[in-house]
């Protein structure tokens, strides 16, 4: 629902972290998005294309979105398990809301031209 503002956040973050010269050579952005992040990859791709064209920026960059599953770590037995069907419990059936993966909304890697 707020994919456009997330794309603007990608741009702002990259502009904070890299120089303009570097960003002119940007070829790819890899996002890591947890299942709980409420981000729809297709909408994110569409928003990315729309914003790159409107702002005439990062036109050579390809956006890849790596969706990662929800993992919980049980405080009782230490088991790490993937949450399926939104039933938040470890592999031994202990209910837990201790999410260790799945809420991410990160730029994981960026790619630049080699030469």
């Amino acid at each position: 629902m707020h994919e456009i503002s997330l794309v603007r956040n990608i741009f702002n973050t990259l502009e904070d972290e890299f120089s303009k010269e570097d960003l002119d050579r940007l070829t790819g952005i890899d996002l890591k998005v947890g299942l709980l992040a409420n981000v729809e990859p297709t909408l994110m791709q569409n928003a990315f294309e729309a914003v790159t064209e409107t702002e005439n920026k990062f036109l050579k960059a390809k956006l890849s979105i790596n969706v990662v599953p929800i993992l919980v770590e049980c405080p009782l037995c230490g088991d790490v398990a993937e949450v399926k069907n939104y039933l938040f419990q470890c592999g031994n059936g202990h209910p837990t809301n201790n999410v260790i993966q799945g809420e991410e909304l990160l730029i994981e890697r960026v790619h630049f031209q080699e030469d």
Partner: protein, 238 residues
Amino acid sequence: MSVEKSSKAARGTVQCDNSSFSLLKANDFMAENIRKTVKEKNILLINITSSAGSGKTTLMQETAKRLKDKLKMKVLVGDLETERDADRIKEAGVEALQIVTGGICHLEAQMVWQAMDQIDLEGVDLLFVENVGNLVCPASFDLGEDYRVTLIATTEGDDKPKKYPRMFLTSDLMLVSKCDLLPYLPFTVEAVTKDARDINPDLEVMEIASTSGQGIDEWCNWLLAKVKEKQEAKAVTA
């Protein structure tokens, strides 16, 4: 690793560190500022979320009526347009400030921070942020609150929590609202509680009906206890 702008040209693939490259970094930074400010000023901050029409504003009105003589309460209320909700809360006798988001589907910490600058926080015990009516986007934005309280109305259906898992995962208390309508609806408090606790086993649940007053004393007592708890914790560390 984080790359300094002045370092030599970036080439090939750059692995990014989690803290600098989170897309919610700016929001989380402001949320921390809010958290520090309300701690210093001894204010309990509650973020109220729900779908549109679940009774957030009506609950704010009823809460204001009951608590305005017991403590100092103020409300910041977010909506896409209009000042209607703030006007309704003011009628109940407490100060309210409307945050018009102008089309944005959630409140961000920056908006709350700016609004806090426009009200007098001196002596305030309890500050509510009534979020935009939406169970999706507001779930991702930390506002620096002490507690997140989510309303789910009996008219919405008792299978909602798993459709909006992050909101229920990040909430501390679920208020099942409009419980006076339970006899007329295919909704059970048991079913909605089970659905929500599959996601968040620690979630507290209360049944309320703002218009009949059911459960409102229990809710107000919960708030009074949390205000007291925060103020006592502050007194200990002071």
